[in-house]
């Protein structure tokens, strides 16, 4: 990273606006899914959707910042070409992008699931003391319930993530079509 600051010559306004748009779309869709499948009330599900989406994009950015300086000149110039000029030089990049996109999908799914799990635990169980279990039967019933909740959580996150990715992909397709028409 450079040590001096200079006047801005270039601003990533488009990146910020697009990311905000995508986040808003994803948050509203995933909020609805969480409300529908996990039976949270509306406010809580929007909160969970917001937190998992924004934090997972922060996580993604950090991976980008870690990887970007380590790219070799060829890959880096493809990346620069895409961000500054919206084109690729090497036709092979297209398949790399598709591979990366599926990797990112899996990655965000995992991150979102973990985040949701951590958030649910930290937000609901801290402060509220757990009731003391009386019988063994009740305990095993509880564990079973937690396992059920866990699988439920996984499927719900998967559904939510797929739906928001579909919506974002649709937006991208529409955008590409409108550029193509110009």
């Amino acid at each position: 990273m450079p040590e001096e600051l200079s006047l801005p010559r270039i601003l990533p306004i488009g990146a910020m606006l697009f990311e905000t748009l995508f986040l808003l779309v994803a948050i509203s869709i995933e909020g609805y899914v969480l409300h529908r499948w996990l039976k949270f009330d509306k406010k809580t599900s929007i909160f969970y959707a917001l937190a998992i989406n924004v934090f997972s994009s922060v996580f993604g950015w950090n991976i980008f910042f870690l990887v970007e300086p380590r790219l070799d000149v060829k890959l880096k110039s493809e990346l620069i070409g895409y961000i500054f000029f919206n084109n690729f030089k090497d036709p092979g990049t297209q398949s790399t992008i598709i591979f990366l996109a599926s990797l990112i999908f899996l990655g965000t799914f995992l991150i979102k699931f973990l985040l949701l799990k951590v958030l649910i635990i930290t937000l609901s169980e801290i402060g509220e003391k757990e009731e003391i279990e009386t019988s063994q039967q009740q305990k095993s019933y509880r564990i079973e319930k937690m396992q059920l909740q866990n699988t439920n959580l996984i499927t719900t996150t998967l559904i939510a993530n797929s739906m928001s990715y579909t919506a974002i992909t649709l937006i991208l397709v529409i955008r590409n079509l409108s550029i193509g028409l110009k």
Binding site: L5, R9, P12, G14, F47, V58, V73, F84, N87
Partner: protein, 336 residues
């Protein structure tokens, strides 16, 4: 008439008095243990640190920073004015900035990119800290805030971290422009992600540098050489120029990452009086036009009769290059 005039004078006087009282209240601490004391301590430490030397100076300056941060934090939590739309007080923003400067600035550069990048995140953490203490002043104790407050804190932290990421992204693309300066000779109009604030430069400067440094080297290899040797040289001009070019690029573009993206090629064209050598520097990096761009310098190479050599070597070469380089957008002409 007169009385109203006096009234106004008295009003103005009263206003000035109030203002002075306000300033006095701001400057003079009511109790010994207050935020003003901390600010004064920080000013005092800075003053002292100029007199000290070595590591003592650093220690005093360090405590000065701590006093300043603590003082502003105290002042700004006393009367919070909040940023519109969030529950982050403006004070946390100021304190966050000070903490960030303290953590990432150093004597030469007070403001570094890291300072700016981490500012929002630190400000959000500072906003959140008071929520984890119940009570006020000296009788506070650590406590876990209510569910609603916890949600609020998490949301604020998430957005602030995202803003930090955007700031970092800005610095990344700014760095690209520094490492690949030839990018700024193209337009960014097709970009989805960035807008440009400065006008684009006419020609890629590094391409001109390469051509202008190549010219004397080529002249040296050709000027006054026997014509037959020169013709042999021209047959393998591409290879010759490639070798020369590698050295030139390595020497002159050392500090730029884009040095690997420039290539040098030669085109030799037969003309009536001899040959025309076109030296091309070709950009293989990212460009707005997918076919890229190149710069060209043309040199005319002709045989002249050697005057002071009467023997069988009947001709030597003369070379004359264009002063200016031409800038072309698109792929270079095909190789012979």
């Amino acid at each position: 008439m007169n009385s109203s005039f006096f009234k106004e004078v008295i009003l103005i006087f009263k206003f000035i008095q109030d203002l002075l009282l306000g300033i006095q209240k701001l400057i003079m601490p009511l109790k010994a243990f207050s935020w003003q004391t901390l600010i004064y301590l920080s000013v005092f430490s800075w003053g002292i640190s100029y007199l000290a030397i070595g590591f003592i100076k650093d220690i005093i300056a360090f405590s000065g920073w701590l006093f300043l941060i603590a003082g502003t934090a105290w002042y700004t939590t006393d009367n919070p004015l909040r940023l519109p739309g969030t529950f982050m007080p403006v004070g946390a923003l100021i304190t966050g900035f000070l903490v960030s400067v303290f953590a990432f600035g150093h004597e030469v550069n007070v403001l570094t990119p890291k300072t700016i990048v981490f500012w929002p995140t630190i400000a959000a953490i500072i906003t959140a800290i008071p929520e984890f203490f119940a009570g006020t002043g000296t009788t506070s104790k650590a406590a876990i805030p209510k569910l609603e407050v916890r949600q609020k804190v998490i949301i604020l932290l998430a957005w602030s971290m995202l803003i930090s990421c955007w700031l970092q992204f800005y610095f990344v693309i700014d760095q690209w422009l520094k490492e690949y300066p030839s990018l700024s000779a193209q337009n960014f109009l097709r970009s989805t992600f960035v807008i440009r604030l400065e006008p684009k430069s006419k020609t890629p400067q590094n391409g001109n540098i390469i051509l202008n440094k190549m010219q004397p080297l080529i002249e040296e290899q050709i000027f006054k050489k026997p014509w037959s040797e020169v013709e042999k040289w021209l047959i393998e001009a591409n290879q010759q120029l490639g070798n020369l070019g590698k050295g030139v690029i390595y020497k002159n573009l050392e500090k730029y990452d884009e040095q690997g993206l420039w290539g040098i090629e030669a085109r030799v064209v037969n003309v009536k009086s001899g040959y025309r050598l076109d030296i091309l520097t070709i950009w293989t990096g990212p460009s707005a036009n997918t076919r890229g761009f190149y710069l060209q310098k043309s040199c005319l190479i002709q045989p002249v009769a050697a005057v002071n050599k009467p023997e069988n070597q009947n001709a030597v070469a003369e070379i004359e290059c264009d002063r200016t380089n031409k800038f072309f957008i698109g792929s270079p002409p095909p190789k012979q």
